[in-house]
């Protein structure tokens, strides 16, 4: 039996006095696409950042690929992992940000190779070949020498996806990848993500794109006020919402 890629049990997280996650349970099966939806401030992004250990959760159990995130259980005690081990774990999880966060001083090519070369120790020519292949995959061949500022938002986000994929991640996290884009550029990014889903990549997507969720997601989680209010297959959750909150939310976004 294979363990789930991500498993959260009662995960809690507070920032100075404000509890953002109030005990979240979530299971992400390997090779599936999970969408997190919910109003802003509901804790979707925080949950994503906890999975990548960009934030440390305060309580509960969070496992990625069967391993505890940021801790190691030995002799009934939890040991905090060293920075180096955490970096190693992060390198296996790709993350795509709302505001792309491409390295502004590096070319498209260097953005995609820097992690392979510096973190994974891949040889430069191998990294370059891989970068070219990924650029072709996201439809941006020929843009190798461009700087991020010379690209449109949609193109930047596709480079960001290529940068994350270059690390051969076992899990991809998307934090509202299309929210900062002009409406006519949203499609090109979603297309790349759909392609990726078809290849069997495990993906967790925080999104406001309900059509994407309906079409691509295997499971949809609706977060509100730091708890999961509803979850299930998109056709159930999005078409026949059971809770009043989700009904209210959907009536606003659809």
């Amino acid at each position: 039996m294979t363990s789930p890629m991500v498993e959260a049990i009662g995960v809690r997280k507070s920032y100075v006095g404000v509890e953002v996650l109030k005990g979240v349970d979530l299971t992400v099966t390997r090779g599936e696409v999970t969408c997190l939806i919910g109003p802003s401030g509901s804790g979707k992004s925080t949950l994503l950042r906890c999975i990548n250990h960009l934030e440390k959760h305060d309580a509960g159990e969070l496992r990625v690929d069967g391993e505890l995130v940021g801790y190691e259980a030995r002799n009934g005690k939890l040991y905090e992992l060293s920075d180096k081990r955490i970096c190693g774990e992060r390198a296996q999880i790709g993350m795509v940000f709302q505001r792309f966060n491409l390295f502004q001083h590096l070319t498209v090519m260097e953005n995609i190779t820097v992690g392979q070369i510096r973190v994974k120790g891949v040889k430069e020519d191998v990294a370059n070949a891989k970068a070219r292949e990924l650029l072709a995959r996201v439809g941006l061949d020929g843009k190798e020498k461009h700087y991020p500022a010379q690209l449109s938002g949609g193109q930047q986000q596709r480079v960001a996806i290529a940068r994350a994929l270059a690390m051969d991640p076992k899990l991809m996290l998307f934090d509202e990848p299309t929210s900062a884009l002009d409406p006519e550029l949203v499609g090109e990014v979603l297309d790349v993500m759909k392609d990726l889903a078809r290849t069997g990549m495990t993906m967790i997507v925080v999104t406001h794109e309900m059509n994407f969720a309906r079409e691509v997601a295997n499971t949809v989680y609706f977060l509100d006020g730091g708890v999961i209010e509803e979850s299930g297959a998109p056709k159930d959750v999005l078409t026949n919402p059971r809770t009043v909150r989700l009904q209210g939310f959907l009536s606003k976004v659809l």
Partner: protein, 336 residues
């Protein structure tokens, strides 16, 4: 409205009368300035000659600005040696300042309260006392410490034992004083640069598995450089001139070299001009270097990097040429 073809509408530009008047006045003042700089005056010594029973007197003339004296001493070995000492001091002090400054800036950002407050206190102390006082302080440090022994506090363990007077000659104490002082200013400049880099850049670096040091070195610092370089250029130029204080501790820099010469020949103004011209030359070279360094680190920050002066000159010439062509009815090239 088109500017080509025979039916083009004639455009009458606005007349800037006050601008023309201002230009005229400035041109006159510039001419006066150049005239006086290169004028000659009497030396005040009358030389009289008697020929055929008639007495002719005349006063020899000299350059008002002693150009012949300036030229004579400009490349004299004492002056060149002084210039060399000035450059050495500037480079050494700035190196200490930049390296220590960046370390202090990174310390200020540390999660450890002890590290960040140590860095703060350093800046407070070295910015809070005049650099001349610090120069004299390090020069006289042997009054406080004749020897330096590095070991473990309160324990009979020593690693190094140094004689202060033998290692801190005037030049080295000057470098130390200027460098430590500079570090306080550089740390603030470096901190501003680090703060200017978007938080998202660090997150992205972290998310692909970079360690803190890797993200600082590969992502944050290169982008911070863009903000750090202009004020650092200022600091280098300022340091070049601040080094002229070192004559108080007996280091023969450029200024000390020319004062030594004028103490003998009393041509103070001429030799101050020699020093000023050298300072201006070095400053000019530094400014050019700064321009190209800024351009290098602006990579990716701008869609179109600004042209170099040479490119701009070429563009201007092209512009004038195309303007000339439009006047004759040939359409102008659109500058790209």
């Amino acid at each position: 409205m088109t500017s080509n073809g025979d039916d083009a509408v004639k455009v009458v530009p606005v007349r800037h009368y006050s601008r023309w008047a201002g230009t005229f006045v400035v041109l006159i003042l510039l001419a006066m300035l150049i005239h006086t700089i290169f004028s000659k005056i009497g030396t005040g010594i009358n030389i009289c000659v008697r020929t055929h029973g008639l007495r002719h007197c005349h006063q020899p003339q000299r350059w008002r600005f002693y150009w012949n004296v300036v030229f004579h001493f400009f490349t004299s070995s004492d002056v060149i040696h002084g210039l060399y000492v000035t450059l050495e001091l500037t480079v050494a002090a700035m190196t200490i300042g930049i390296v220590l400054g960046v370390i202090l800036a990174v310390m200020r950002r540390s999660q450890s309260r002890l590290l960040s407050s140590t860095a703060w206190t350093y800046t407070w102390f070295f910015r809070g006392t005049p650099v001349l006082v610090q120069l004299l302080f390090w020069f006289n440090i042997a009054a406080l410490y004749k020897t330096i022994t590095i070991g473990l506090p309160f324990l009979p363990v020593t690693f190094v034992h140094l004689n202060v007077l033998s290692i801190l000659n005037p030049f080295r104490s000057a470098v130390l004083a200027l460098g430590l002082n500079e570090a306080a200013y550089m740390s603030e400049i470096a901190r501003a640069g680090l703060l200017a880099v978007d938080e998202g850049q660090i997150e992205a670096a972290t998310s692909i598995g970079m360690t803190r040091i890797q993200s600082l070195r590969l992502v944050v610092l290169p982008q911070a450089m863009r903000v750090i370089i202009p004020p650092t250029g200022n600091e280098v130029i300022s340091m070049l001139k601040t080094t002229s204080l070192v004559s108080v501790v007996g280091v023969t820099d450029l200024l000390a070299a020319v004062t030594n010469i004028s103490a003998v020949n009393f041509l103070t103004m001429a030799l101050l001009i020699v020093a000023s011209i050298w300072y201006l030359i070095v400053t000019t070279i530094l400014s050019i270097g700064q321009f190209y360094l800024e351009r290098h680190y602006a990579k990716g920050a701008l869609r179109n990097p600004p042209p170099t002066p040479i490119q701009r000159l070429r563009g201007d010439l092209k512009g004038v040429a195309s303007k000339y062509r439009t006047k004759r009815g040939v359409p102008a090239e659109v500058p790209t």
